[in-house]
Assembly symmetry: C2
Homo-oligomer: 395 residues x 2
């Protein structure tokens, strides 16, 4: 194990905590850019509560609404323009992963004279990693991406059909106010997508990481087991605050670095999915739910021990030996059954995506990120043919 860890986000977690937004924000700025998504926070009144709390604490509010589910670089440009013009000194993200991701890049774009797309990694020579950003405060309304407590952001360039990530220490939110009550109104399908999203974050680190990380393995398994158990409860009954609380906590842990610290793996399933959703504007987690089991079957042959452990510890299957590929594959089958139980799709055809552009998806993915051998980082590293194989199996 050889790694660095740094995450300075101050987490405030618990039902009802959204009422602290005014008091918390006032410590960082007096004029907030309030970034929101498609309008649900306006319809359900959360936005009004947040604005009232901010105004009560003496914080002025400038709104930037309409961030898309796969947030676009044009929205980032628009948000940064508003923040600059209005002299905002703090950015509040109120919404799901898309809203939070866009907010992070907006907060950094305010200090960057070039095009914000330069800050998103896509193999370019003029990559700009930001070092300064306005203070960011995240208030998630969905248990899914964990963006509220990390320094990453995924942005789509709608002109080039590219989707990739920005990452920099200045993108860590100063504060994450995580109030599970805000997620009670999330509909069944998006609840399920969130559960699938968070589990995929964990499986990426778990299966792509280095060997000999037994404590991280236990952490990952703990998050997966609980996300599955409480995820089903939250899907079944959206008003189950205990279930909402547990999956919200799981979603934070899945991507705040605690589970992945020291595993040093790649995120191949995410990178492939980003290409698919850049082309088809599908829900990120729906893409993950389709690609992940197919990728697992591909990867298991190269890493049977970890997949056997997964089958044993997550699904209580009995392995004949520590590298029992048969048992490992049965574990993947069980995982796919779980995804189906949540009504997440597991085949591209369910989203009306056919195989015509499969080669293009593979090429685009490798254009965004590849190792020195031209392969997609992961365990194992994937060639264009490997990606095509995984996607073909998921048709």
């Amino acid at each position: 194990m050889n790694f660095e860890f740094y995450n300075p986000t101050h987490l405030i977690f618990g039902a009802g905590k959204v009422s602290k937004i005014g008091e918390v924000t006032f410590k960082y700025g007096k004029k907030a850019l309030l970034v929101t998504g498609g309008g649900s926070v306006k319809r359900n009144g959360i936005s009004d509560r947040v604005i009232a709390s901010l105004k009560n604490s003496g914080v002025q509010v400038v709104e930037c609404s309409g961030i898309e589910p796969n947030p676009r670089i044009s929205s980032v440009r628009r948000g940064a323009d508003i923040a600059r013009k209005e002299n905002c000194d703090v950015v509040i993200a109120l919404g799901g992963g898309s809203t939070m991701d866009a907010s992070k890049v907006i907060a950094a774009a305010v200090f960057y004279d070039g095009d914000p797309w330069d800050m998103v990694f896509h193999g370019q020579s003029n990559l700009h990693i930001p070092t300064t950003a306005l203070p960011i405060i995240t208030v998630p309304t969905l248990a899914a991406t964990g963006s509220e407590m990390n320094a990453g952001a995924v942005i789509t360039n709608e002109e080039t059909s590219q989707k990739s990530f920005a990452q920099a220490n200045c993108l860590y939110p100063k504060v994450a106010i995580v109030d599970p009550e805000l997620t009670l109104s999330v509909p069944e399908n998006h609840t399920a997508y969130g559960v699938c999203d968070l589990i995929t974050h964990v499986t990426e680190a778990y299966f792509n990481g280095v060997d000999n990380t037994p404590i991280q393995d236990r952490f990952a398994e703990g998050v997966i087991l609980n996300a599955m158990e409480w995820g089903l409860k939250a899907i079944e009954n959206g008003n189950d605050l205990e279930a909402r609380t547990q999956i919200q906590w799981a979603s934070i842990l899945a991507l705040n670095g605690w589970v992945s610290a020291g595993t040093n793996g790649g995120y191949p399933v995410h990178m492939i999915e980003h290409t698919i959703s850049a082309h088809h504007d599908i829900t990120h987690a729906a893409g993950l739910s389709i690609i992940n089991p197919s990728w697992m079957r591909f990867s298991a042959k190269h890493n049977p021990q970890k997949f056997t452990q997964f089958a044993e510890r997550i699904f209580s299957l009995k392995a004949k030996n520590p590298q029992d590929l048969d048992c490992a594959l049965k574990g993947i089958d069980q995982f796919e059954i779980f995804l189906k139980t949540t009504n997440c799709p597991t085949r591209l055809s369910e989203l009306n995506i056919d195989g015509k552009l499969i080669k293009r998806y593979a090429q685009d993915t490798l254009q965004i990120v590849h190792d020195e051998n031209g392969k997609l980082p992961g365990r194992p590293p994937m060639s264009e043919e490997d990606i095509i194989k995984v996607l073909t199996a998921a048709l």
Copy 2:
């Protein structure tokens, strides 16, 4: 779950990483107070390597050696005097928990005109929680307290026979350089004490916390299982770098807040042990090893479900039902057997401590900390009689 989490320490982890100390320190200061313990870092050459790295990077070094195993407030005063007189602008702790704890309070004492003992919680009306400290860099030479990545410090007042903790955000180390190679020379008994110390940190949060923290439970169990497995390997063969690495990582996780976040429990075993070691200057972990099993037997009756889970998940015992006190007690027996296997003491008599002062220990503990009913916080809260009972059972 209702909690806040904040831990901004930048962790640099891995074999060989101590060589970065000069480069890292230079970012924070140009004249370092190098705090060390009893001399082992001088004898084994680690101190020379650190000083050479600092000087190569242009950092001047002022030494403050001789921090005791139960670090004394007089040593804190001495260190702060040196730092002030020499105008040090950064504090480096090179040693075990005692050295790190003393360093933290020294770093804050530099900015406080009163007596540093005011910063240590002991029920006083003039408690001073510091808000400013010199930048602190920790370089642990022992896997035990996890002090390298948290904001706590335990200090003994040798004049009043009191031992208690300071805690403040400004005490978070800026950087923790954690190099498991530095622990290869730790003797067998102190390796065992470290393992016992870290496991006790985890059990305190696990058994004293609120209900319904299933992910935290899995995290705690993951740390305990691995600390036991790799701890025995490190005790058996001190040169096993893999085992040293795993217990070092476990020791960090045991007290950096990741396992305990949201559990909101007390630390009764620690509070009782502090009183014993304040009176008898015993090794902290030896005291924990004696008190913890006795406290567990007392607590299990009040919390049979969690102790049953412990027996099942840590020792693979089969419970008849989720609140099987018999199974729970067998799990505690197994845990005590593990402690004996590591050669940690499990009875006060092994340290030549008899029962004469037992009432005094209980009273002193409650004087340091008690709830509104005069009881020691924990699950269950403990009266003077309860503490006496636990200690009597441990004679």
